[in-house]
Amino acid sequence: MTTDTIITARGLTKTFTVRKAVVEAVTDLDLDVQRGELVAFLGPNGAGKSTSLRMLTTLLPPTSGTATVVGHDIARDPAGVRRRIGYIGQGTSAGHNQRVRDELLSQGAFYGMGRRAAATRADELLESLDLAPLATRKVLGLSGGQKRRLDIALGLIHSPELLFLDEPSTGLDPQSRANLWQHILDLRREHGTTIFVTTHFLEEADLFAERVLVMDHGRMIADDTAGNLKTTLAGDVITLGFASEADARAAAARAGGTAAGSSLSLTVDHGELVLPRLLRELDSVTSATLRQPTLDDVFLALTGRSLREDAATSKEEINA
């Protein structure tokens, strides 16, 4: 641990008791985040992401374990933590009966900003998050995406040095998502803000985060850069087509991989180098594709389940 560590967690654990059944929401979370890092937190529904965030933001006392956030212990000095962080939760942050701009002014006051400073900052955020025309509208009447943008404005009002975001882009259209990420990246560039974000959009984690944490069933199962995770855990997939099944089987005998019908697939490192060599060596190839791995492949490799599939089934469980 260096002095520039902004989050340190050791053995952070949270269990809930629901009608005598024990739910292990988060088990033994160890974590170090450096100042200025952008960390993406992935995992299927119910993995324990929100619970982890809620412990780190002092909303939930851990069952066991300790954590220091921006130099303050979450259990002994929650007020010290709260002053220095921003949190955009998974729900709607603004009060339903409030007006958009009013809620920003209240939020500024909560964070000890003077009236004028809060008003200036509120107008700045309204403008940049395309909320200016809605300033005097009631929150109740906003669309889902508009509410989400207001949540983000509320979380940014005091320009915190560490910002937690719980699925900020859920419910946003592609343009608003891009806009949100622009904000996050600007914030980071201008103020060196540390960003800790959970998301179900794997491509967001892939594009923007330098570090990806994967959680499943309350346990952290991976922690690395997206690139490293993909090369070490998934690899590139090359699929070759042949004129007949016999050709495919013959090719499998020479090059390895698994033949299925008249095609052969191989998982390799550096597919872009392997593919031309295969094409030279195997003369009966009729088609070829190279697919680079996604974080979903990483998750599949780690757990044997697809993140997307899992998200879908747990939604069905809820409906059932």
Binding site: Q98, A109, F110
Partner: protein
Amino acid sequence: MSTITTDTWNVLTRELRPVLRDPFSLIFSLVQPLVFLGLFGPLLVATSGQPAAATLQSFVPGILVMIALFGTGTTGSNLLYEMQTGSHERTLVAPISRSSLLVGRALKEMVPIMVQACIIALVTIPFGFSVNPIGLALGLVLLALFGLGFGALSYSLALASRNNDWMFWGIQQATLFPLMILSGMLLPLEHAPQWMQVAAAFNPISYVVAAERALLSGDLASMTVVWGFVAAAVLAVIGLSVGIRAMKKAA
């Protein structure tokens, strides 16, 4: 200002903003007391055999307490809703004290009550209700104090029922009407069975109603008034301490 005062002020300001933006909402929520005045009042006049003015003299103060009772008794539902959406969570992460989150909300309850009670008192004057101006001012203070305590209790109930909102509505329904009837607010309890009179003696709202009647009639220096303020103050102390504890525990 100390931080807790500043925090409370900021929470209070936030709670008051929707009221200031939409002052007519206060008028719309006067429908219930107006219905009671317009439909129950004449019945009362007819059955009491007294002149209308005399009946109004005891009925209107009861209606004012009713405004405070129903206005603050349901206010917890706002917090309940904010707990479900996530906006309460947002205020819990903000660097403001837990107690100010409760106290600021409870203090806000005083404002609509005073405005609404004032309107109703003034509206009934042309119908023969005679009101002592100093008594009215003190009466509004008494209502505000009562609303503060009862509002705090409603918020406590909301905090206690955050995982099952039916509990909030169930308990609220089960208590508001008995409290109303057993306070002599609408119908005086002089001819009520003994057990009801005993129950009324344990109901703090009975004392508030009696004091409100004395104040508005200009009987300012009576013990009834003192007991009314004592009952409201005790309720406020209990409401705020239960509420602050509930707020700290729920977080």
